[in-house]
């Protein structure tokens, strides 16, 4: 599904590359956990994969097609759920879903059925007339996720989708992600919660300072790092204990 070859990216004015020759493959239907300390290049990689940034060098292929800066074909099958609440606080839940559905080009009964579908997945049916600014943190996260599901993506990028919410909402979102993955969607999942990644992801990549330090299943990663008992220990072993910006 995703093939990344020797990917480089440098922000204008930066002294060094944010991504330094990164190569990676993510297979179809995978639930891929992307780990890394702050500033490791996770968001840059997701921005490159979703077309928000263009690579300085290297190649990204999504579904077999080259995706230079987010080719329309890749955009049509993918969706990004950013870490921020990327919706309009002054609009209601239904208005937000209608707005983004309209932006995606859906209308009429198709849009209506998609809104019902994603509201069901995210458990938002009872909150459709409530303004987004008045939702709890957990409901905001669920709305953020629901918007990302409107185009029924085959490739879903989730950037820390459970930050700052209660355990109930967190469990609900993780279950929803599992169901989406079971339904055939490939998911790229970033998080700082190691237990979530352990519980959810079949493949894990550890990124630091723009380079991929490790890549494989949890069992493979632990096998390659003797003495490390779990993902968190393995992560600290690979990335060190130095505090990051």
């Amino acid at each position: 599904m995703i093939e990344i070859r020797d990917l480089h990216f440098r922000y204008p004015g930066a002294a060094r590359d944010a991504l330094q020759g990164l190569s990676l493959q993510v297979r179809d239907g995978s639930l891929f956990g992307l780990l890394g300390p702050n500033g490791s290049g996770k968001t840059t990689l997701i921005s490159l994969l979703t077309g928000l940034l263009r690579p300085s060098a290297g190649e990204v292929r999504i579904g077999g097609e080259a995706s230079p800066g987010g080719a329309p074909a890749a955009q049509a099958i993918s969706a990004l759920v950013p870490q921020e609440y990327a919706f309009y606080p002054r609009l209601t839940v239904a208005e937000n879903l209608r707005c983004f559905g309209g932006v995606l080009g859906f209308g009429g009964t198709d849009l209506k059925s998609r809104i019902e579908e994603v509201s069901g997945i995210a458990g938002l049916q009872d909150f459709s007339t409530k303004r987004a600014e008045h939702l709890s943190g957990g409901l905001k996260r669920r709305l953020n996720l629901a918007i990302g599901l409107l185009n029924r993506p085959r490739l879903l990028f989730l950037d820390e989708p459970t930050v700052g919410i209660d355990p109930q909402s967190r469990a609900f979102i993780l279950e929803a992600i599992k169901r989406l993955n079971a339904g055939g969607a490939t998911v790229i999942y970033t998080s700082h919660y190691m237990d979530e990644v352990e519980q959810l992801c079949d493949t894990i990549g550890v990124l630091d300072e723009g380079s991929l330090l490790a890549h494989g299943s949890l069992a493979e990663l632990l096998k390659a790092a003797p003495g490390q008992r779990n993902l968190e220990e393995m992560f600290l072993h690979l990335t060190g204990r130095r505090l990051r910006d």
Binding site: A86, L91, G105
Partner: protein, 387 residues
């Protein structure tokens, strides 16, 4: 479909922002009402000078009655009829309810025949400017001189010459252009409408800054929304808002200001020219707003920058101080403000009977300004995206 969804979203966001609605609609309406009524007398160049006075004739002689009639014949002087006692009339002048008080004392006519004339009394109110008081006094002195001379010449057996003959000795030519000057309401309606149009930068920038900082902008981009669609999604609804602003402010000028005792706004005879001017001014204002939205990083920056820049443009452009009051050098400088282009265009339609041909130059100025702003906004958007 995409642009339509963005337009609908933008309108819904604006309709739920009471501060923005007050800024865009209540503020200009308030300014129009207050300034049109407060400056009514100051702009009334086309209504001529009118000086009001009380007159108390304690003499009731043939001479005093003749003087009263001559005063009444003067078009610039308006006698306020009153049977109130002299003290009450004096109080009215002291409080500027009437500008002047003229008292013809008893024995005035008789004294005119003798060697020592009896002086009339003239009093002006505290709010009457010295130049205006001098005008009234000169008029009164002229009439008294006529009366005095006719009495003296009559005593000598000679007839008073016809005053019309004396006027023929002086030919006057005035280059005064009062007819091209706006009344208070004609100046203030387009002025404050333009002022409010350019304040669209605040709500537009606030929304755009929020979209950028909350990741909504990035999300829209990943959904395939192009920069052109994003710009169109802002430009179209806000141009619509400027049209609503124009319609409402014109209604205030035509109906509300006269209801409160002010003059009535006349819209001229060229609706197409008026529509073109409104569209061009709206396009310029919204493009300028898009430029600011792309240059600033926070809503606070947008508010401060817009406030300062708009006040400067308004001060220079004849919004706060009408251009015709400015000295020639400042009038030339003022034509560098887009608000002045808009104001002159509207005044061409409202005041000078102008049509499409007359406003074409102002329309072109505003459209070019808007296109430059839009171009720089698009460039800034691209640079920001890259960084």
């Amino acid at each position: 479909m995409v642009t339509l969804a963005l337009v609908r979203k933008e309108l819904m966001l604006l309709l739920r922002d009471w501060h923005a609605l007050a800024l865009l609609f209540v503020m200009p309406a308030g300014f129009i009402l207050v300034m049109s009524l407060a400056l009514q007398g100051r702009f009334a160049a086309d209504q001529g000078v009118s000086l009001s006075y009380y007159l108390v004739d304690q003499d009731q002689s043939a001479a005093s009655i003749g003087l009263v009639q001559r005063l009444a014949a003067s078009q610039e002087l308006k006698r306020v009829p009153s049977d109130a006692p002299l003290d009450v009339q004096r109080d009215a002048v002291h409080t500027d309810k009437v500008q002047f008080l003229v008292v013809i004392p008893k024995g005035f006519g008789t004294a005119l025949d003798g060697s020592t004339p009896l002086a009339m009394q003239e009093q002006s109110g505290p709010g009457v400017e010295p130049a205006v008081a001098e005008l009234f006094t000169a008029r009164l002195q002229g009439l008294l001189a006529e009366l005095y001379l006719s009495k003296r010449l009559g005593a000598l057996g000679s007839n008073m010459p016809d005053p019309a003959g004396a006027q023929a000795l002086l030919h006057t030519e005035s280059l005064y252009t009062a007819g091209a000057r706006p009344s208070s309401v004609q100046q203030n309606v387009p002025a404050w409408l333009l002022f409010a149009m350019f304040f669209i930068a605040i709500p537009l920038s606030t929304t755009w800054v929020q979209e950028r900082s909350q990741g909504t902008y990035a999300r829209l981009r990943t959904m395939g929304v192009s920069p052109v669609q994003l710009l169109a999604g802002k430009l179209l609804p806000y141009i619509g808002i400027t049209l609503v602003q124009a319609a409402l402010m014109l209604m205030v000028g035509v109906w509300i200001v006269p209801l409160l005792g002010g003059g009535q706004l006349t819209l001229g005879h060229a609706p197409l020219a008026l529509l073109l001017m409104t569209l061009a001014a709206g396009f310029a204002a919204v493009s300028y707003a898009l430029l600011i939205a792309n240059l600033v990083s926070t809503a606070e920056q947008a508010t401060i920058f817009t406030g300062v820049a708009n006040l400067l443009m308004a001060a220079i452009g004849g919004i706060m101080v009408p251009r015709f009051i400015m000295p020639p050098a400042m009038q030339a400088i003022s034509l560098h403000s887009p608000m002045a282009w808009g104001l002159e265009g509207f005044l061409d339609v409202f005041l000078r009977g102008g049509g499409v041909a007359m406003v074409a130059s102002w329309v072109l100025h505003l459209v070019l300004f808007g296109m430059v702003c839009l171009g720089v906004a698009a460039l800034s958007m691209r640079l920001r995206h890259r960084s």
